[in-house]
Amino acid sequence: MESIIEVKSLTKRYKEKRAVDDLSFDVYKGEILGLLGPNGSGKSTTMNCILSLLNFDRGNIKIYGKEMTPNAYDIKRKIGVVFQDVAVFDELTVYDNIDYFCGLYITDKKMKKKYVDDAMKLVGIEEYKKYFPKQLSGGLLRRLNIACGIAHKPEIIFLDEPTVAVDPQSRNNILEGIETLRKNGATIVYTTHYMEEVEILCDRVIILDKGKIIASGTTDELKELAKTKEKIRVETKELGNKEIHEIKKLSCVEEVLYKDNILEVMYTDENNNLENIIGYLKSNNIKYSRIFSERPTLNDVFLELTGKELRD
């Protein structure tokens, strides 16, 4: 795989605090790379360092094999960025906003017009082209923010939490838009703290915590890291200490929790667990209302690796 962005030993300090601590990773052509991490884990800082918007203390960034600097205008031409905060002109309409940011890259008028139209279509805000940002809902504003960042059809796109505080409709729209961008050949770095999005969207994930990479790989690879391979939840009122003790002894059971009439059983293997537990409940005449089986989530992986939840 062709590596387009190479980050080596990137370290960024704010006073004594290390916001980014010795990060190294590559981004490959055509992939969507997820940077997943809780608030303050250094996702935005990493992105801003890669883009030369921040000076960093140590490390080395190469894009297309060339060192990235504030004056690397030929590299910048190929990059599109959607920042975490909505950054648009209140004084300009939706159309004029996209036109302005696209115009920073594209000078040919016809081409620019087409690009602006494409961008509006991609995020689905054509109807609102004459609106001013103040007249848009939060979700539409986010979509405008994205359109402004990608209208010039960049080859590499950075998206910093584009779906934060967005209604489900806009979120789906945004995620579909990102899929489309990838299909059109873009390489995407996607920053988020929503693991569901990462699971739907990303080919590869880097999990950050306190500025450090704590794990990386495809979602399946990451899930392999979890000791728990399956989690079964049973709604039942009839368990005592004796039964819980017996369940713990069933095969592959790693841990058993029983609280508020919900039994949670963690397994280290993923085969036949449901059969086993149902068999046990039946043979002991224990009544239950519902049973769920869950595969581990990235949240579980994060929990196991750091001892805390991804989202607070």
């Binding site: 921040l54 000076n55 205008y73 300009l92």
Partner: protein
């Protein structure tokens, strides 16, 4: 081009502010023009003088005496040292002219005879002196050209009459100049307000951190970006200047088409440059575009009050004027005052105007340097 276009798109969002401040100038300056059009005319009053003529009253001596009788009131006095001194002490006489013996003969012989003068130094004396010296100067010039005494006398009168006509015209012009001066001084408020409001706001919008991050990451060279902003600001400045010149013509009439009128216009141009440099600086230091509004009130309103754009400077207390020296408006308004009272641009008037202009340019340079310091600090990210 994108930036240039966007600059004016944003400006259009503030068109009502621009229109509002512009109408204020038209309104207040226009009102001022009405209320100021009847000025007391001092030059019609005749000064009281006395002539001690030791020469014979013939020829050029006689003509001089008659000229003075026309222009001044000749006091009826006893020709004695004591009587003359008393009359001057009680201000019955402001100016006494001693024509020496053989004045006529010496004058014709181009010996340039000295005429002794005594004067009180008040307004009447100034007026008498002006009349007397006008005659003498013309006579001294013309005696070099004419040998014949009659011809000389008639030539002197021709020249003096012509100059008096110019004088009269100038007297009419002074009321016109007052209108213009009022208009241009008041315009300083509107210009400052509009420039700060528009330029500082637009710059603050472009330089707002979120937006400038996007600009910084784009493939547009930052020098090109700055150049575009500069070009757009210049077009804005020139347009503002043209609008206020056209308004000057509409509000005050054809007084603009005189040397003085041109001087006002040039002065305004320099002032606009200075106001722009100041606004660019403000645009670079304010964190939030809404702060521009507050700046307009503090700076435009403040300096217009302090510098005599609303109230003529002579009515302001000294300490206020001292403070006002640190504000560009002071130098602009001061120049307007000089232009108002200036018939020929030479000597001290011209000097002061040049100094004032230099100070305005100095302010502009200072603001440019400060802007550079501030914005280069801003570009460095940590």
């Amino acid at each position: 081009m994108t930036i240039f276009k966007t600059f004016f798109k944003i400006m259009l969002k503030y068109k009502f502010i621009i229109i509002m401040y512009t109408s204020m100038t038209i309104f207040f300056a226009g009102m001022g023009v009405q209320s100021n059009s009847s000025e007391t005319d001092f030059s019609e009053t005749k000064p009281n003088i006395y002539i001690v003529n030791n020469d014979e009253e013939v020829g050029i001596t006689k003509d001089l005496v008659e000229y003075l009788k026309q222009k001044c009131e000749i006091a009826e006095l006893e020709n004695s040292k004591q009587a003359i001194e008393d009359a001057m002490f009680y201000r019955d006489v402001d100016y006494v002219i001693y024509i020496p013996q053989n004045f006529r003969a010496d004058f014709i012989a181009r010996k340039n005879p000295q005429i002794e003068i005594k004067q009180t130094g008040n307004y009447g004396a100034e007026l008498a002196k002006m009349n007397f010296e006008r005659y003498l100067k013309v006579a001294q010039r013309k005696v070099l050209e004419f040998d014949n005494e009659d011809e000389l006398i008639s030539e002197i009168h021709k020249v003096i009459e012509r100059e008096t006509e110019v004088d009269l015209r100038e007297k009419i012009d002074t009321t016109k100049m007052a209108k213009l001066s009022r208009y241009f001084s008041f315009a300083s408020y509107s210009i400052l307000a509009i420039t700060i409001y528009v330029l500082a706001t637009i710059l603050a919008v472009f330089k707002e951190e979120k937006i400038s991050k996007r600009t910084n990451i784009s493939s547009l060279h930052y020098k090109k970006f700055n150049k575009s902003l500069f070009a757009a600001s210049s077009v804005f400045g020139v347009a503002l200047w043209v609008v206020f010149v056209v308004l000057a013509i509409i509000v005050t009439g054809n007084g603009v088409f005189t040397i003085n009128g041109m001087a006002y216009i040039v002065n305004m141009f320099v002032f606009i440059i200075c106001a722009m440099c100041m606004s660019v600086f403000i645009g670079n230091i304010i964190k939030d575009k809404n702060a521009a509004n507050a700046m307009v009130n503090i700076i435009a309103l403040g300096s217009s009050f302090l510098c005599g754009a609303f109230v003529p400077a002579q009515y302001l207390p000294d300490f206020v004027l001292k403070i006002a020296h640190v504000l560009p408006s002071y130098w602009y308004v001061n120049t307007n005052g000089i232009i108002e009272n200036c018939s020929n641009f030479s000597g001290e008037a011209l000097n002061t105007i040049l100094v004032n202009t230099a100070v305005l340019i100095g302010f502009s340079v200072l603001f440019m340097i400060l802007t550079n310091i501030v914005s280069s600090k801003r570009r460095k990210i940590d």
